[in-house]
Symmetry: C2
Amino acid sequence: MGGELPREEHDGHGTYDKYAHEPFAVTVDLAVLTLRGGTLHVLLVERGQEPYAGRWALPGGFLLPDESAEDAARRELAEETGLADVSGLRLEQLRTYSEPGRDPRMRVVSVAFTALLPDAPEAHGGGDAAQARWVPYDEARELAFDHDRILADARTRIGDRLENTCAATAFCPPEFTLGELQQVYEAVWGTPLDRPNFRRKVLAAPGFVAPVPGGARLTGGRGKPAALYRAGPAATLHPPLLRPQREGRTT
Amino acid sequence: MGGELPREEHDGHGTYDKYAHEPFAVTVDLAVLTLRGGTLHVLLVERGQEPYAGRWALPGGFLLPDESAEDAARRELAEETGLADVSGLRLEQLRTYSEPGRDPRMRVVSVAFTALLPDAPEAHGGGDAAQARWVPYDEARELAFDHDRILADARTRIGDRLENTCAATAFCPPEFTLGELQQVYEAVWGTPLDRPNFRRKVLAAPGFVAPVPGGARLTGGRGKPAALYRAGPAATLHPPLLRPQREGRTT
DNA sequence: ACAAAAGTGTTGTGGCTACACCCATGC
DNA sequence: GCATGGGTGTAGCCACAACACTTTTGT
């Protein structure tokens, strides 16, 4: 924007006629992540058509004429997961992928989003012909289009968000234990954390979590019942919860 | 993406026919920031046409059929600033703005970028009919479209990037003093910093800056000549250079 | 001599890591 | 009792903010 309408001459950037070429298609792609049994999973759909027939891909779809990319992403998320309460979910714009040729058929500009869910319903597929499945992150390889890259970008982004925001609670059910919250961090970062220190940092961050007064729950069937917490009102984390020493690289 | 081609039925998300509605236009918008005399400036162009005729706006323009958003942004940047060496500049994707109605004429999806320049050439305007100008950040208000918001988002993002990446050197000429680098941080963050501590943190971060062997330069005409540095090879900053207490302290 | 800007040293506090240790529960 | 997971305490180290001080230039 800031340029002028196509077909007008005065923008000086070379004339652009919106009817002279194939129009751009605009889509959304979703990296929907969850935690199952302590490992990170991603929601994938199997493609029924060429190109990439039979390959797995991130869910997504076209923008409708009167919705924003955010709206479209939320709609697709509801359709693909079958969830009803999609309105409260955290949905973060990741970035936009616009390389020509990323879809062999036509010019597609895609706005990618990340979404974090607590352990989610097993069955999926929406009304869609293609089946949908939760796949362990490490097994999600050789996806269709440039979705490998999008997924990798999503994981990197989520990892960063865990340091500076309260995003981790989005992986947890409404009431959760600090042990469960720690598992989120360990699964996403791929690093074990020291429990006592983790606990102190979480409780020291104002608004991160709020205790549930009477709450307690057994986690592994054994051990002391853990106190329950809810997500607090804060969105950002002060001080940040930094991951253990990412190397200082000389090169 | 991940859905199917428009006009095909099997995506189940409602049929979408790419010829049934006005096509989406895809543009890029640029928040080009620089430092002039210790204050942050942004590159704006004056609009010649409705809507928002006479208002200032971020530079930008339409994607050409065979270029990515990054390519388009770089091309626009070269055109608007008149710089020749645009190839080496840091250009970061900010986010995509897609709300229906953000351009009253048609559906425009815009991918916004930030670019950081060392104190730049005064004259602008490219081949464009509209004039271009560097405007102090604080005076850039009531821009066209949703550009106020884009600009605000850009500043927030740049502020965050200064903490975790080596982006600050992009505001400096090829050889710069630590005092100049500090001014970048102070201008973007709007906070004064302690010089000795700043210096130590910068030098402690591996790959952030590299000394120029014989280099020294007077900064304010008076005082001891400062050693010169170049941007180092690192892209990210370890440890990060955190801004002074953003709220939320324990004590 | 003085002002101005660069650069070095030092000290005290606070935070954080890395543990040891206690508590509550199931088997 | 023992294993398992939750939760508390603490000692030492290290980073960093704050500020005093030295150095090198221009006027």
